[in-house]
Structure formats: structure tokens, C-alpha cells
Assembly symmetry: C2
Homo-oligomer: 314 residues x 2
Amino acid sequence: MDEFGIIKKYFRPLTMGRDELLDDTGVLPPRRAGEDLVITSDSVVEGVHFLSSASPADIAHKVLRRNLSDLATSGAKPLCYQLNLVFPEKPRDAWLAAFSGALLKDQKKFGLYCSGGDTSGASGRLFVSITAIGTVPAKKVLRRSGAKPGDHVILTGPVGDAFIGLQMLTKQIKPVHENYFVNAYYKPVPRTANVETIRKYAAAAIDISDGLVADLGHVCEASKCGAEISLVPGIFSDKARRVGLKPAKLLTGGDDYELALAVRPRHSAPLLKALKAQGLKPVKIGAFRKGTGVRVLDQNGRKIDLQKTGWRHF
Amino acid sequence: MDEFGIIKKYFRPLTMGRDELLDDTGVLPPRRAGEDLVITSDSVVEGVHFLSSASPADIAHKVLRRNLSDLATSGAKPLCYQLNLVFPEKPRDAWLAAFSGALLKDQKKFGLYCSGGDTSGASGRLFVSITAIGTVPAKKVLRRSGAKPGDHVILTGPVGDAFIGLQMLTKQIKPVHENYFVNAYYKPVPRTANVETIRKYAAAAIDISDGLVADLGHVCEASKCGAEISLVPGIFSDKARRVGLKPAKLLTGGDDYELALAVRPRHSAPLLKALKAQGLKPVKIGAFRKGTGVRVLDQNGRKIDLQKTGWRHF
């Protein structure tokens, strides 16, 4: 099967009936009045963002969900995405079926379609880049820059599970509840189902895929303030706590796709209540303050020294 | 300089003052009434789409212009683009300055801005993926599927110059007018300035970056018809003709960014006249007909056998 055969068989179904997208350009659906479109991109490369042992479904879930998480960060619902693939070599049918099947499953789960893309090869390394488009009520997009001193720092769920998954996958630590942790690494759940609630109560948002401390630092920088967080109960999952890695590792390891939110104090309780009702395990971990930077306190109120704040590519 | 420093110094200027795009998501400008948005993607990888000897400016021009050509194919004007980069290693300042400088130059030339993107590394190979967004009057998007038997096949300019450029770069043939041909390879001119005229007169369009015969074949397939073209004067540039490569090579080599258009016979003369007035060298090379596939005739009306119709990745 050649390139065009592959596109027809495996990628056409991702347009969910919009066959005109097989042209080089897709047309976005007419925008509804009072709606803004937001756009985001995220790429993954073998050996950098996923292990060579990753299954095609793992890769598909991870790259699409990373993008959906960025949409959720801005308070947007998913609309569609462009899929750009460079294959390391001519791909096998089983690989293509598993990869495109996983994308289709996520499309249905999260409510979006593939608006087009690009395939090429052969480069020796798998490269997948997705650009996703979402919709948000006009002028309601959530930004990093909306935090104020006094705002609470609320996480939509515990951090560190994905980092533990990666440590288990790379045999750095003994596997316990391995499926749970590996799923956190490869199949994070972007918070797209919770964006109405988040938009209603949060003043700023970011996802914490680069590591909680680093990403919270981005909010501080954009909002011209600092933050202080501490190791409150619920910041790590019970399973993570039992693994026994140092808290500093879990706070800075990255690959988590919970959101860190800045929330005015009066909105804190209703937000926590609403997110819990939606099945999440949100937790208030601290507050924004005057100054700069993120300070992390342990259970006893002592400052933790962090050697790094998050993932850096270079 | 770390990743975030690099983004600030070299990529922030590409947003042309829209600093909010440094968030993970960008907001598209409000759409005007009566306007559709179109979306397209194209990626390039070292060793596949450009040579390891390519300069950062060559790479920047090529990948952005490939996308702009796809927008032109659909009759759209450029609006913005997402820039996704995976660096082979930590990039040097001089490389970043030249790469981002070339993008900024093209942004000004073609009238668009960078709406965001993603950088990561280090993967051992340079990957650049761009997703571009354009605007077109509502329901006026040009498609591959609009050709009818009897329509003329019109090229917006001669084919084969880029293929000759590549042959010279790879020392397959002796360099003559090397700058001219290498520019055709690395700095093709997307036909975005001519889209109003093209939309007015053409019934279908495609760019011929995979090779004229292959891409014309895509139009035939989508339009459920065939086409017959011949080696008329003007199908190759005078410089290309003097290089003396076989016509079959020039027709199928790829990397050209002229458009192949299907044009109703009554629109043929006004289209040719208008494009000439805009400084192009358009040429009528044949007609669509009943049946399937693309037949190529030489100057004497004899069928040319093509071993391949265009570029295939695998």
C-alpha cells in the first residue's frame, strides 16, 4: 500500500465523513456568533516524548491528549485537529490500524474530528505533531496572566502519577500498580469536560505538563506575582504516596495533565465542590502572593530546596 | 539560553506584537461575516524534504511557503500559522536568528503572523511542521473535485525548475544558472497574490509539489475524469529547456509550487490574460476529458511513457 492508499484506509475515517478534507486544505465549520476559536500545537518525537517501546495507541493517546489539555487550559472545548506524521520507515498495517484506531476512540471520547494533515517519511524517527482547534465563548479565554496575590492555587487533581509511570517504564523503580501509573503517563485525561466550571470560577490556568513548579512559575511570571504552595494532603495520590519517591521529584517531574488554577478566595469553595461533583479530586495547595517565584513548603512549613523546577528540553 | 529564553528572543517577534500567544494557546482574530477559515499542514524533515546542507533560511522559506501554496490552492489568503519545531540538538544563536529572520521576512511578504507553536528537542534530526490558516469568502473555497471533461488544464507557470535545482544541489548535473534553479527549489513563490483571479476563473486547483502528473491525477480522481496534456511551448522555462533533462523528469520531479487549474473554456482566455498582467507566465497545457488518468503527449502528439508520476515517500 502506498502513501495515498494509507491515507484513504487509515486516516480518511478520522475525518468522520468529511471526505473533502482529503484535499490539501480543510474548511473549518462556520463559526457561531459569540464564539472564539483557539489554536494550540504539540509535537512528540520518539526517544524524547515517548519510549521506543511505546505502543502505537500509547503514542496516539498521548499526543492528542497533550493538545486537548492545552485547549482545556484556555477554557476551550475541542473542535478539530490537524495530524502531521513523519514515519521512520514505511509503516506496517498493524501499526497504522492501532494508531488511527486509538485516535478515533479519543475523537469520540472528547468530541472532535480530524480536519486534515500531512504524512511523509522516511526519517528514521517517528515524529507526530498535532495542531488542535477549540471553541470558547467570545472573550472568555482563560490566560496565564489572570492571577492576583491572594488567589488560591487549586489543582484539578493530584500530581506525580505520570512521573512514577515513567520511572516504572524505564525500570528506575519497582513496579507497583504499574497499569495505573503507566496509564497516567500515556493516557492522561485532559480536563476538557470541566471547562465550563473552570471558566466560571478560575482567573488563570495552566496545565502542569512541564512540572507543577515550573508551570506555576509561568503563571507567576505572566501575572507578575509569586506563589507559595505546600505538601497538603491530596497533592499526591494515595498510590503515589505509598511509592515513596521524594516529593520534590513528583512536583517537578512533569507529564501531568491536571490544571493549576488561580482562583479568587470567594470562588474557591464552589469550584472545589463543583469539580468534586464531576468526579475529580481537586485540591487547594496554596496561594499567590506578592513577589516572584514559587516557594514550596513541606508538611512542617519548612521550605523545600528544588534542584530543578521542571522538564527542560535543553 | 534555555528553551524559554529562546522562545522569547527568537519566536516572540514572529507574533508581531501579539504577546498573549506565548500562552499555550492562541486566539484567532474574530472572523468577519461571509468569510470561511481554511486549514492546512505541511512538515519537513532533514534528509527527506531538504538536504543537510540547507541553510536555516532555506528551510524556513521552504516549509512556510509549502503551506502558503496549499492555501493558494484552495483560493485562500494567509492569516496565521502555528510553528512546531523539534531541534536535533540545542540550537545555536546564529541558526535561530537566521531561521526566525527568514520567517519574519516571509510573514511580511505574504501577510501573515505566527499564532503560536511548540519547540522541543533534542531528537538528532530537525523536524519543522507548520499548520497554516487562511481566509476565503464563504463557500468559495476551491477544490480538487471541480473539474469537468472539456475544461482546460492551465498552469500558473512553468514546471521543472525546482527539480533541476535539486539535481544541481546534489551534483547530479552541472550547475548552470544555479541560483535561479536553487531558488526555485528552496524559495518557491506561492501564488497567494493571485487567488482572487484564480477563484474568479478556475473550477478546481491543486499545487504540483508532488509532481505535475501525479497531482493532476489527484484532480482527475477527485473530479472523476481524465486529462491529456502535452509538451507545449512554455510548459518548461527557457532556462530549463536549455539544461536538456528529459521532459518526463521535469513533469514528475516535484517540488514545483505553481498551481494546476481546471478552467471552463470560456474562462481560459481571461484567466491567462489576468495572470500575465500580474507578472506570471501561465500556460494552457491540455484539457480534461472523459475516462481516467493523465495522458502526456510529446511535441509530435505521441504518448510519453512515464515510469513514475511523481514523488512518493514510500
